[in-house]
Symmetry: C2
Subunit: 191 residues, 2 copies
DNA sequence: TCAGAAATAGGACAAATATCCTAGATCAAA
DNA sequence: TTTGATCTAGGATATTTGTCCTATTTCTGA
């Protein structure tokens, strides 16, 4: 069945273009050109632009789950896992400099468009949020685990936003270091 | 001369709509409807959409300078001034929940559009950055004043992004408190 | 091999949009 | 009051975009 492959190609191109150009600013023609497919074929696989967006978000959710699982596999230490998250802004530094955080910028755009898929995009944030919360719970911070998770999320969004604006890798590294020190402080409180 | 007034009205409407709907997603018709003016009249005052964007950013730069001056007038204490900045996310909380940070979201959108006005938008960030830097210098942190300024900026961007996603005022307050405690730590180091 | 289903191509179309153009209205100064 | 500049309205246009439709090609199972 060739269908699944074409669908996958469309999805990949849409994912990439939505990230780089934004959802609204990406046309069917853009995607079709990238996949080297006709608009007609396009509509055979996706009935509307909204449907592609839903599928793209679904794919990102799935990819994110895989990444989180990978981080879990990489280390049993919740602190290490959290550090894996903190370092995303370095690992994906080049893309973030050019296009911002894929989660944050999609969410911001959909909020402005008042688009129905915004909740799905928020679910992407939710994935990181609940995963980070789990790690903090595992570290014994049962009561404020969610607050700490949100703090770490906020860090990554702030760094991504300014990285996209000023394009200064040194700033990103400094903030990552600072965040890691903060995490160390969480682990071994001085009080 | 009625001209200046009409131009001002167009600018106000464009500013508001660009913030709420995004630049790309706001059409001339949208602005014209809001101002109750014809498209023709429109083009008498602005030759292109890009020209309006430039003017909007210019206006925001001017408004921001006024706000910073006001904060300077409100207190001679640099720490108080920095706290004024930190509290923006609460003062403008309602708008940020719905539309995100006007600076950050515009910047993100223009980066994706690869729009020439992106540098102007970054200048908006730059205004806050240099102002915050000045305050930290006044606090005696000459060496790392800019780093600290960027850290405070990153805070506001992170909080704005997540506020826009999750719409939780309690989170915003917690992060503001945390940031103020961090600032206190800067002022009176324990070491 | 062959019929029916699946997949693809590309033209057609209506709506939206940025921009242009021209005619009419308004206003300030002589 | 008249004249010329300024301002405004709205139609015209070319382009883009999302969507639909039909014809053709490719694949699959009997």
């Amino acid at each position: 069945m060739k269908s699944a492959e074409t669908r996958e190609n469309i999805l990949d191109a849409a994912d990439r273009l939505f990230y780089r150009q934004g959802y609204e600013n990406t046309s069917f023609a853009d995607i079709a050109d990238e996949v080297r497919i006709s608009r007609g074929n396009f509509y055979y696989h996706f009935k509307s632009k909204d449907e592609i967006l839903d599928a793209v978000i679904e794919a990102r959710l799935s990819d994110t789950r895989d990444m989180l699982r990978q981080w879990e596999a990489d280390s049993d230490d919740p602190a290490d896992r959290i550090r894996s998250f903190i370092r995303i802004v370095i690992v994906n530094g080049a893309d973030i400099e050019r296009f911002g955080c894929p989660v944050g910028t999609l969410n911001a755009e959909l909020a402005k468009l008042d688009h129905g898929a915004k909740d799905n995009a928020v679910a992407l944030f939710g994935l990181f949020r609940s995963w980070l919360t789990e790690q903090f719970v595992a570290l014994g911070r049962t009561e404020d685990a969610d607050d700490l998770a949100m703090h770490v999320l906020a860090f990554s969004q702030g760094v991504a936003s300014l990285s996209n604006a000023f394009r200064d890798p040194a700033f990103v590294e400094r903030e990552v270091d600072r965040m890691c020190r903060w995490l160390d402080g969480i682990l071994a409180p001085t009080g």
